[in-house]
Amino acid sequence: MKFDTPAGINPIDRMKVVGVAHDRVDGKFKTTGMAPYAYERHDVAPGQLYGFILGSAIAKGHIAAIHTTHAESAPGVRAVVTYANAGKLGKGSKNTANLLAGPEIEHYHQAVAIVVADTFEAARSAAALIDVDYVRGTGHFDLAAAAPTAPLHSEDKDKSKPAVLDRVGDFEAAFAAAPVTLDATYTTPDEAHAMMEPFATVASWSGDKLTVWTSNQMIAWAHDDLAQTLGIAKENLRVNSPFIGGGFGGKLFLRADAVMAALGAKAAGRPVKVAMTRPMMFNNSTHRPATIQRIRLGATRGGKLTSISHISTSGNLPDGSPETATAQTKLLYAAPNRLIGTRLAVLDLPEGNAMRAPGEASGLMALEIAMDEMAEKLGMDPVEFRIVNDTQEDPEKPGRLFSQRQLIRCLRDGAARFDWSARNPRPGNTRDGDQLIGLGVATAFRNNLNVTSGARVRLGHDGVVTVETDMTDIGTGSYTIIAQTAAEMMGVPLDRVVVRLGDSSFPVSAGSGGQFGAGSSTSGVYAACVKLREAIAQNLGVNSADAVFEDGHVRSGNRRVALADAVRGGEIVAEDTMHWGDLDKEYQQSTFGAHFVEVAVDAFTGEIRVRRMLAVCAAGRVLNPKTARSQVIGAMTMGVGGALMEELAVDTRFGFFVNHDLAGYEVPVHADIPHQEVIFLDEADDKVSPMKAKGIGELGLCGVAAAVANAVYNATGVRVRDYPITLDKHLEKLPALIQALTIRNVCEKAK
């Protein structure tokens, strides 16, 4: 099916199952331990051995020699694989660095060996006996040092064309003429996905056929890239990943666990199971790259933006891509003169790549502080300032409308709900005992993407509808919304639908990424269901256009036939793939929201704690308000982490992330997360898909950190432009009044 004209009325609009807050259909399996994750697939292949991956001790250089004899002769060891005996390997098209190092080392903790043994303990202990002679090379690890000479990056596929800044109008002239301007630089640190489940794979060979039970968000990518890396035919590889303990983009790509497990299993002649240890999860994997972002805004005294410039610099390994932190700036606020671009420095840190809302998450961390600073300069309320600069058309291509854009409503509804009018516009002036109180707002913005997505649907003898697609559920609720979609389309209750996901033998879907998974994969299921309905109608000899599928029956005119009767002659299977036309070119398809945050800052210690959060989201039809809400509150939590604590600390001498465990890399704990409220505007966007739904999972993160930052500023009057906003960055600048009065009083009182 091709979606190339706006959706008319269709069966989904009945919203009997879709749009209802159903519990997750996989919830009971997860809460009872019946949903096996990759490392728990004890049953799938008998005789599993354990693999332990050894990571490189240096960031850049090469291996002069690697001595494995002690490890090989250690008790219980079955095989040791390094570049020296792995055979020739390819590299996945989505990987920047090789997944097995040697002799060249591209980054710290890049895998240099796998030890396969009878037990995990034996493999781990033998790995410590591998002796590697490294020769250190010189690498570049310091983004701030590399930034001034970082070249412009071109998004053009044709690399022979010189990279240029994206220009609309005359930014320089407009900025110079603007009566009110802001020119500020913001930084965001490297961040880790820090998902609960580490990379894990069980690999088993049968002749030249390989099966991997793994944890991966994009089955088709893993399938392609593992076949390519190992140099095997795709037909000889099966990838299975039905349950995934979080990914946040960290599991978009083939990673070392799968490659090393496959190599270890081949060498040992037995199935091998591998989980990456937590301390290797930070340098072996991909991460969200740090950015340095310069933003310039020029406005009239009335608060109309006349000029916007946003230049972001990030780093990556050679041939890596930039963090596209300027993405939202192209589309978010009106201004006739614009100058936007990204620079990319070569760094020899681990590979940078997508993490939840790549681009916008980092970009809004900067842009939405800038908007707050500008509102203050203009003496405007930050909500009003955003509203004044809202637009219904693509600011770079006037006349090209948004498919649906209700940012103003998000801001206004949110402001009313949050009691925004109670905010004191003078920062550092609201107290609650020893706490400085502040309120902050930020816009949420994230593009909606559609990706080709297929599914197979089967109506069985028992009247049960089974959906098969290689879509994944990374904890988001894919199982549930896909079941809801099929139930709505086929007119059956939810418990008559079985959903099977995450297997490369199923039709290729969008996979989970870029907040395109829900909208795209359910559209694929929609397409397959349309085909199934046609086949059923044909079987029953009725016109499919007239057929109504409801309550487990097909009704056409006066005829009403039970679905089960349609399959008397044998089950009916239909498969289709949703392809996308040009509606996304005709209309800009984006999702919108507003985040409101209240913080308290301890006047003595500078500790920042979030008190209250509200998100108002406009993202088309909400397929399941419960799973959608879970996505948004999880994203808001991640935003608090990004605002206040998450940072991979770079050792710029040795070239690695130092705090590489969950004690060193802090993410919010329960005590950090207060009351969270989420509101979805009642929308249905007919230009995006037959589901009329857009992505939500990443929108919920976009802007959160800036709303926190703006609330902190409102509390303290100290503007911190470098994330995360830890107490040391404002401690000594906290309001003098408080230091002088409170602390002196207290000290004197103690006399």
């Binding site: 210690t605 004197e748 103690a750």
Partner: protein, 317 residues
């Protein structure tokens, strides 16, 4: 983790003899620190002597009106003890500010005292670290040192003692009772228990090889207002950037010890004496010899402000 042997000792003297008698042997209590470090190959004991059967799990009054806390008393039990909550509240407050409920159920009094630093380079066996591999250098010097110590350090090591409980014990003038392989008992003042790193940062305490901690003693209660204030980047489940344990008397005098700033709980007589003059006077003395890094110099200002908050809490307007 290296292969090791394991035994459960039946008496304190036998446990001490078992560890003293075998090079590379260590005591095992709750295991919440030791086992983690073994998995990372940072600790590589050849033999573990489990102390759980030694009946060191009681809290009992001492003749002088204080308390004796068995070495194997769990952090949870110690924090919850009614006598501790009444007379040594700073200790309860410090313990519950640490780790998590599950860990405190498992963690013991002696094990907690002996927990090792959280310096991230200590945790990465690829990096030079004088504490982990004497003579290999200190990667934290010139590296990422935001969490590390500002005072009491040396050119060989700038790691902190990371724990909370010991900071309260320091302000309470606690003692550490031990027994050695020959059955000889002694008491080490907490003030003398943790060593400064000097040239030998791997030697962390006054314990001799094989010397077993049997108890921690608390002197008779001193009254006053007991406060433990722990400052960190998130609300829970993190080690202190700075912590303050204070006992403040109605006349403004008192005692104060700082955590998260030094290789041991940090306290000095001069700083205590300045307490009536206020927080700035105290930290001016306590941190007079500080040698912070650019990453962690904020800890000194933070210590002052945290102490000011502590004083305010102890003496509300």
């Amino acid at each position: 983790m290296k292969a090791f042997t394991y035994e459960r000792a039946k008496s304190p003297a036998a446990a001490a003899a078992a560890v003293a008698g075998q090079p590379g042997a260590k005591f095992l209590a709750g295991g919440t620190n030791l086992l983690d470090l073994m998995k990372l190959q940072i600790e590589t004991p050849t033999h573990l002597v489990d102390v759980q059967d030694l009946k060191l799990d009681r809290i009992e009054p001492t003749a002088d009106g204080g308390l004796r806390v068995g070495a194997f008393v769990s952090n949870t039990a110690l924090a919850a003890d009614a006598r501790v909550r009444r007379d040594y509240a700073v200790l309860t407050r410090a313990i519950v500010a640490g780790a998590s409920g599950q860990l405190r159920n498992k963690a013991t009094t002696a094990g907690n005292l002996l927990q090792r630093t959280r310096c991230p380079y200590f945790y990465d066996t690829n990096q030079p670290c004088n504490k982990r591999r004497p003579g290999s250098g200190c990667a934290a010097l010139g590296g990422y040192s935001r969490q590390l110590a500002v005072i009491g350090t040396s050119d060989a090591c700038i790691a902190t003692y990371p724990g909370d409980m010991a900071v309260a014990l320091r302000v309470l003038d606690a003692g550490v009772e031990t027994i050695d392989a020959h059955g000889a008992a002694r008491t080490i003042l907490l003030a003398e228990f943790h060593h400064s790193p000097g040239d030998t940062p791997h030697l962390e305490t006054a314990l001799a090889p094989g010397e077993l901690i049997t108890a921690v003693t608390l002197p008779p209660p001193v009254g006053g207002h007991h406060v433990y204030r722990k400052v960190r980047d998130r609300a829970s489940y993190a080690f202190a950037l700075v912590s303050v344990a204070a006992i403040i008397q109605p006349d403004g005098s008192g005692r104060v010890a700082f955590g998260g700033v030094a290789p041991k709980p940090w306290r000095s007589d001069a700083a205590d004496a300045a307490l009536p003059e206020g927080a700035t006077a105290v930290t001016a003395r306590a941190f007079a010899d500080a040698r912070p890094t650019a990453d962690n110099k904020f800890k000194i200002a933070l210590a002052t402000r945290t102490l000011a908050a502590t004083i305010a809490q102890a003496r509300p307007a």
